[in-house]
Symmetry: C2
Subunit: 285 residues, 2 copies
């Protein structure tokens, strides 16, 4: 299926994959080369799983999960399959995030360092809790076939915007974590003298910011949205494109944008019914 | 002019104003009550202008500037007036951000603390530079009347998404700054024992996150977008709503979403011409 602006999409996608992959590599090099390495013994080696698992799961895999519907090579796959991949990637990210929390709590408890005192921990735990709620509601409402379509229609724009907000909050939490770790760990020479480890971890922070920006850019470009199922177009007698129950963050630019003013019209009501029929088809496909 | 979902908009707007105002108050209480106060003498009193000016200008005023087109009470005002308010608020935010940088560089230089070593400073300065570029291009392209409409049409979605990304990056930078300051400033008792100042500044961090989330939510809700100029509707013989040159981040949900697939059609070309005519009307109004 052809995608408008395919080259631009490809450039951003390849950049995102590269920068995301580099973020994971940088995190590994940070803990393996500059820090103590990895282990599961209550020491710094266990703490070091925290950044590795967060950047791998909660940043990179979550980022891919967010844009997976937009990969044009998947547009021939069924929506249900794509939902499973979206949910599966997010579930993997959630599991890695949970293990990363266990690592840091274990480490704190073993060394009698207090838990949950920093802004990093407050914002980070909030993000994890919202992420779990998002995963649970996503599973119950959008993956299982039993939710009423009106509920799906109501929750989809909330699901989409919450998802991008949670992702952004995770990026911000990572930046706080890198900041904390560098201040705590770099003593001689101090962080303020900008030793090689400081430069390296600062670059890691920038990579995470750029990855977040690329994912947000891809997911807010409307022309790269997954098209509705082609076989369903035939069901629409007017040949038009009804409002879609599947939402996406998109820049409303150069668009037909009628429905706001039409929502009370009979026409709009009929269109919405067609859209709900379409959603019903999809959700049971 | 009636707004769909007006109560929801009002609830989010009042929350955003309240949380944004509280963020500024919390920052003031932090530096005046818990820290040394304000001054301009190269000591901590001068540094303290940094968080005050950033949260006031770069967070609160920028946030308001982002959603100013969406206030329904302004929809009877001309687009040019609203552009001036949008640009003016952003210019004030930029000036406060610059003064906040002067305060922190002055403070560092007076105490021989190195500049620009932290991830906070790297990401923050990047955000300021992009913000200035955004302000400059916004002024040259969208406020001054001379830019070709095709250029405006090309740049508007970039302007909108860049704006929200820069705003998010500023929020993340503030969280890093709060984290840094608490680790540096709280020694006896340490931040890890969570003294009152630690709790207070953590709450400030959460307020800033919530403010950022509310602004992003308001600006990505399509039904709260400023409608096109009513007098221009009369110029459209088909009574339709052509693609708008003014873009906005919006969840594409329950929308007519034709133009992607139609861009090569003659119909779409004609629609785009109508949209450009409309933009021409607006930009010279």
């Amino acid at each position: 299926m052809a995608m408008e602006g395919y080259r631009g999409f490809l450039a951003l996608l390849v950049s995102a994959l590269l920068v995301g992959f580099l973020s994971v590599i940088f995190t590994l090099v940070w803990v393996l080369h500059y820090r103590e390495g990895l282990g599961w013994d209550g020491t710094s080696l266990e703490f070091n799983w925290h950044p590795v698992l967060v950047v791998t799961g909660f940043v990179f895999i979550q980022g891919i999960a967010i844009i997976v519907y937009r990969l044009p090579w998947t547009w021939k796959c069924s929506k249900l399959l794509m939902k499973c991949i979206h949910a599966g990637l997010n579930a993997v990210a959630a599991i890695l995030a949970i293990i990363s929390l266990v690592a840091v709590f274990d480490f704190h408890n073993a060394l009698n360092i207090p838990n949950m005192y920093s802004l990093h921990s407050w914002v980070g735990l909030t993000a994890v809790i919202f992420y779990m709620l998002q995963l649970l509601t996503g599973f119950l409402i959008f993956l299982l076939p039993w939710a009423p379509l009106s509920l799906r229609a109501f929750l989809m724009p909330i699901h989409v915007r919450s998802g991008v907000l949670i992702f952004g909050t995770v990026i911000a939490t990572v930046l706080m974590g890198v900041t904390e770790k560098l201040i705590f760990a770099l003593n001689n020479p101090a962080y303020s003298t900008l030793p090689p480890e400081g430069v390296f971890a600062n670059v890691l922070g920038l990579l995470v910011v750029v990855f977040g920006a690329l994912i947000c850019w891809i997911v807010t470009t409307p022309k790269w949205k997954r098209p509705k199922e082609p076989n369903l177009t035939l069901l629409q007698p007017n040949g038009g494109t009804p409002g879609q129950v599947e939402g996406s963050l998109a820049v409303n630019f150069g668009k037909m944008d009628k429905s706001d003013s039409e929502l009370n019209d009979e026409t709009a009501a009929r269109k919405r019914n067609v859209a709900l029929d379409e959603a019903a088809q999809r959700s049971t496909m």
